[in-house]
Amino acid sequence: MSRPIVAAAAPPPLRKRLFAAHNIGLLAAFAAIIVAGSLLSPYFLTASNVLTILTSASVIGVISVGMTFIILAGGIDLSVGAIVALAGVCATTPGAQGLGWLAMTAICTGVAALVGLLNGVLIAYGRMVPFIATLAMLVAARGLAQHISGGVPQTVNDATFNTIGSALVLGVPLPVWVFAAVVVVGWIVLNRTTFGRRTIAIGGNAEASRLAGINVARQTLVLYVISGVCAGIAGVLLTARLTSGSNDVGNLYELDAIAAVIIGGTRLSGGRGTLAGSIVGVLIFTLISNIFVLENLPSDIQSIAKGVIIVAAVLLQGRSASSK
């Protein structure tokens, strides 16, 4: 029964997608930034700097994978940054630290999944607008994180847990591997499973999807849990990297992730977009930050540059959409 929708929403072949007008613009921008970086700074194209960039990108990167699913389905999740903070704080209370690194990891992802579940219930069954439900969650989760930690960063004393943030596997930091693994799993789920096609279908037309027999409410619920889990994994990476949990981390991560997804070519209203685009979006922002710090430029100029990139990308997107 759902066959026609699924067929209609199935992505075109890889070659065609890579050469779509918007993707060419995105890849050209990406390449231009890399060329600019290597011309400007002798430290840019060193192995250690590339690994620094990838490690920096991994936290927002993992969040952006979940955000891509949410936006593709026509939703939005503003609570991801607050979830990172709350999950990190819950996992680093003295009680949690007493349980060891595995339990800390489980608490971090578990708390995040629970918050995602709550988002999903409010949106799918409480009929709340995603923007409002997750905005309320942002405020409440930050408040709870502050309440639990008392506003003071909690140092992690478990050396094994901290290793997650710094260990090298084949010369590459573990967070980068985790980022890569989440991207691969996300890509397979989105492009090779019915779940992925349904996600795009409900973003394209929720009512038609419902009539075609897709359980839109359940699909939506699971999507917000996925976004929560991604934020939880990001929370583990960040907490281990900082060797502390704090209620004051993850500020504006939701906007960083949304910006990356949008410049990556995903339509904000849902139904169209790619995961690969989001990842290039994350890398573009991380590269810009890196180059600006390498060149010792002030933060105000950096913010202006980010804004210009978002506008340029969206304008380009509008042109490529209207030319079809």
């Binding site: 620094t52 004051d248 890196n290």
Partner: protein, 328 residues
């Protein structure tokens, strides 16, 4: 305090009580009992999303609890100036005797503080200053410029020559500019020292990590780092550790418990320049003295001064024990 010390303290207290009348504590307590005056202090500070702000509120509460003649009315959790104005208006309506206000923004809260003063409630302005002297009876706060000077002089005297990196807080805040100005002015006295990089890290641990990780890529050799804020310093420290760098030392800012622990243990942080949240405890003391109509006992003046600027002391391994109790 260990059990034995507690027993000792109790014994000393008991002995003191036996000679009551000679101890100053007993004298002041007797004076309260006579006058019977209770001072109601209203306290308003921004919501504690940062370790420093959390300590501000905690210290004020603890200090008020030390005086049997002080009652503290505390409002918490405001995150915008508008919310804080509402909370202060409530405190004015409750007719507190003295107000202690750490405003979200000095400019935005000036009107409501002026209103309190006109209603006969003296205002002790804590740290972020109001834009009009009519808005407060007394100002007490830290010295951001002096903090930069202390950090610059410590690094200058320790290094004499070398490359220095500055990790600032939030560039849109006036206090960040003052700290950086003090640091730059102090470093002018040491021509051998060059400031090779200055980046802002927004006062949070994760941004501190991200910025420092990038700075370390651009600077193959550093001799010292001044980081404006110990909370964001947790991230700066993590970046240094993850990059396996150790050729330099770091100077912190504000004076967190964590920074003091690292200083004591001989870690990468060799010093931190204070911007201590103990100032809120001092503000409660000043509010009480104003309420009682007294002056500061260490000056001969009959009334509390109108302005007190705190000194940004340098905490190092040598003196860290003395400052441990103000670490937050």
């Amino acid at each position: 305090m260990k059990r034995a010390e507690l027993v000792q303290a109790a014994a000393v207290a008991a002995a003191g009580a036996a000679f009551a009348g000679t101890s100053t504590l007993a004298v002041t307590q007797a004076a309260f009992a006579q006058s019977g005056k209770k001072i109601n202090i209203g306290f308003s500070a921004p919501g504690a999303n940062h370790g420093w702000l959390a300590a501000i509120t905690k210290n004020a509460k603890a200090q008020a609890a030390k005086y049997p003649d002080v009652e503290l009315a505390l409002t918490e959790g405001n995150s915008t100036s508008a919310e804080q104005i509402g909370q202060i208006e409530t405190l004015i309506n409750r007719k507190v005797d003295v107000l202690v206000i750490l405003p979200q923004e000095g400019q935005a809260l000036t009107a409501v503080a002026t209103k309190a003063m006109r209603a006969g409630i003296p205002v002790v302005n804590l740290d972020r200053i109001f834009s009009s002297p009519l808005a407060y009876r007394t100002w007490i706060g830290g010295d951001n410029y002096g903090m930069g000077v202390s950090a610059g002089n410590y690094i200058g005297q320790t290094l004499k020559a070398g490359k220095v990196v500055e990790i600032a807080g939030l560039d849109s805040l006036e206090l960040t500019k003052q700290r950086s100005a003090g640091f730059a002015d102090a470093l002018k006295g040491y021509p051998g020292i060059t400031l090779v990089a200055r980046q802002a890290a927004d006062f949070t641990p994760d941004t501190g990590e991200r910025v420092m990780a990038n700075v370390l890529q651009a600077q193959p050799h550093i001799d010292a780092v001044w980081n404006h804020d110990d909370d964001q310093g947790i991230g700066v420290e993590a970046a240094i550790r993850n990059a396996h760098r150790s050729e330099f030392f770091m100077v912190g800012g504000a004076g967190s418990k964590h920074a003091m622990d690292v200083i004591r243990a001989g870690g990468i942080i060799k010093a931190t320049v204070l911007y201590s949240p103990s100032m809120s405890a001092s503000a409660v003391n000043l509010a009480r003295l104003i309420g009682l109509g007294r002056g500061l006992s260490e000056t001969v003046e009959k009334a509390v001064p109108s302005s007190i600027t705190l000194y940004s002391a340098v905490v190092t391994k040598e003196n860290v024990a003395r400052y441990a109790d103000v670490g937050f």
